[in-house]
Amino acid sequence: MRDDPAPKGDPRDEPARLAGNRRALSIAGLTKSYGAQRAVDEVSFEVPAGSLLTLLGPSGCGKTTILRAIAGFVAPDAGRIEVGGVDITALPPERRQTAMLFQNYALFPHMTVVQNVAFGLKMRRLGRAEIAAKVAAALALVRLEALAGRYPAELSGGQQQRAALARALVTEPQLLLLDEPFGALDQNLREAMQVELRKLQQRLGITTILVTHDQQEALILSDLIAVMNAGRIEQLAPPIEVYDHPATRFVAGFMGAANLLTGKLLARDATGFDLGIGGSRLRLPGAPPLDAADEIAIAVRPEAIGLDAAPAEPSGDGGFVGRISFLTNLGSRLLYEIELAQGLRLTVEEQRQDKTRIRAVGERVRLRIDPGHCTVLRG
């Protein structure tokens, strides 16, 4: 690099230079069927430039098909894919400015790390000196300079992922596509890599689509989460919103650990409505959903329920009273499983500190459900 007059190999310049490549992604009416199965069913969404959107859902929900359609490996039956306002739907994969991080990294096993990272630049017919400078910068970005001469099989899982990331980023793509990138890593490494990737993504400001079935991962990494089910997006919102206020029963279930309660509409007035849940009464603010002819489902986060000592005798005031049937001590948190008189089973989470009294299994408790933290679900 000594013969290179401009110090463009300096890794600290890299983020600023890559950030100039920010593009928004827009998907409209994307549809893809395999046989009679609609893998993706008229999906539309927008990702602002520089944001990270996660397609979250169980396997077979269509998330990977969308990612592969953006990369050009799947030809959609209908719909448009636009990057920075330019329609790329009909372009072959090699003409799209997308960089994909594959599930098992797909590093070329017969090439060294340097050769792997240089591959995309060679395909773009850059000069030798320019390739060397860019490869060095990309390797510095993922702190892999020392292993540049190794073959992929000689790297650990985390190093392989960093090499794949360098290979993807070195071409200065408009979009970064991540296909379950942490699945092959063990738990500790996974969390470290997630944080590292998120920092890098924010520093470079590169528009990114992440596909995962891991809700924890989605919460850590995302600006926006699109929860998918059966080829459709059930909810698209910032992580906190999806976590606190799941829109549908599916989202509440998939985001994990929420208590689902169903009840009948008993009364309504200007400030709220009453829900009858198995003989107990819960008053919620706002208006009930319009189509609430029959049953209304609500989600309550375990941490939104408080526990009090229950009165010795049933008070008959319609409160939620039950018995602790199981206790999980997670150190900083306590998870109580409560069996209610109505036969319902709820999970309640308490923060634990030194002086927190740990309730015993079998103890009778009265539940304080905070109406402000209940979310009425559709569907």
């Binding site: 490996f73 072959p92 990294y105 070329f108 995309g120 099989a153």
Partner: protein
């Protein structure tokens, strides 16, 4: 696997080893016969042992020509199999359609179910002077071309015979090259062709050489198709040895030819093995997943 289980496994190999040993002993006896002499006009064999047969076999120009021709023909056949077989194996390994894969597989191995002689006669019917191909040519007003009792007939029938060995061996190797690698190459800006040339082709070279070596070895030992479709005009080494035994009854001379040809064939295959090892060194991780 634990230690005791492994030593138990050794005994399971015993029947197979016995059979192999028997075959090898038979060949050693046959090889030893090459040192004796045939009494002309009879099938009896007498001593004393000498290398005279070897001297005579090597001295005869026909033997040298046929041996060289066999080595070259086997090479030619292997080359044709590579050109036809690679795309077939590639298609089989990469097609998402199970039907396409099974159709190719079926077309490749269905003729294995009929005997070699049946197949040879089928080729005679197709390629003969009044066969299907020439009848068609004449119907559209073209000259008929001689396709049997010459080298062409031998090559066509042998390629058909050898193709399954080549394609199935290569298919096994190509399947271990993940399709995601080609997608990664295309994602990085390589066209379909370039991603094949830069990624899949080099990674399949070890399997390619293994498949070609097998094909070459099988081609060297060809006997039936040169005999039936060559009409004696394109004999290979095995046909010459056969003639020595059944036409001249000179078993010691035939044995000497067989031993010599075996050594030459082993040398050629050993050479291919060296090539394979050299390639493995060049691509230390080829075939392994990243």
């Amino acid at each position: 696997m634990s230690g005791p289980a492994r030593s138990d496994g050794r005994w399971l190999a015993l029947p197979g080893l016995l059979v192999l040993g028997l075959f090898f002993a038979a060949f050693i006896v046959f090889a030893a016969v090459s040192l004796l002499h045939n009494v002309p006009g009879t099938a009896s064999i007498v001593g004393p042992p000498s290398f005279d047969n070897y001297r005579d076999v090597i001295a005869l120009r026909l033997n040298r020509d046929v041996t060289l021709d066999t080595l070259l023909l086997a090479l030619e056949l292997t080359g044709i199999c590579v050109l036809i077989g690679y795309p077939l194996a590639y298609l089989m390994a990469r097609t998402p359609s199970r039907i396409v894969r099974n159709l190719i597989l079926f077309a490749l191995i269905v003729t294995f179910l009929s005997g070699g002689v049946t197949r040879a006669y089928a080729w005679l019917i197709i390629l003969g002077n009044r066969g299907l191909v020439n009848t068609l040519l004449q119907m559209i007003g073209l000259e008929s071309i001689p396709l049997v009792h010459n080298r062409t007939g031998v090559i066509i029938s042998l390629v058909h015979f050898l193709l399954p060995f080549f394609v199935l061996t290569l298919f096994g190797g190509l399947k271990t090259v993940p399709a995601a690698l080609e997608e990664a190459a295309r994602n990085l800006g390589a066209s379909r062709l370039r991603s094949f040339v830069a990624v899949t082709l080099p990674l399949s070279v070890p399997a390619l050489i293994a498949a070609a070596t097998l094909t070459y070895a099988v081609a060297l030992s060809s006997f039936l198709f040169p005999a039936l479709l060559g009409g004696g005009r394109s004999p290979m080494a095995a046909n010459l040895i056969y003639q020595k035994i059944l036409d001249v009854f000179d078993i010691p001379a035939a044995a000497a030819m067989a031993v010599l040809f075996l050594l030459i064939a082993l040398a050629c295959i050993g050479l291919l093995g060296q090539l394979e090892r050299a390639v493995q060194r060049r691509f230390p991780t080829a075939g392994r997943r990243a």
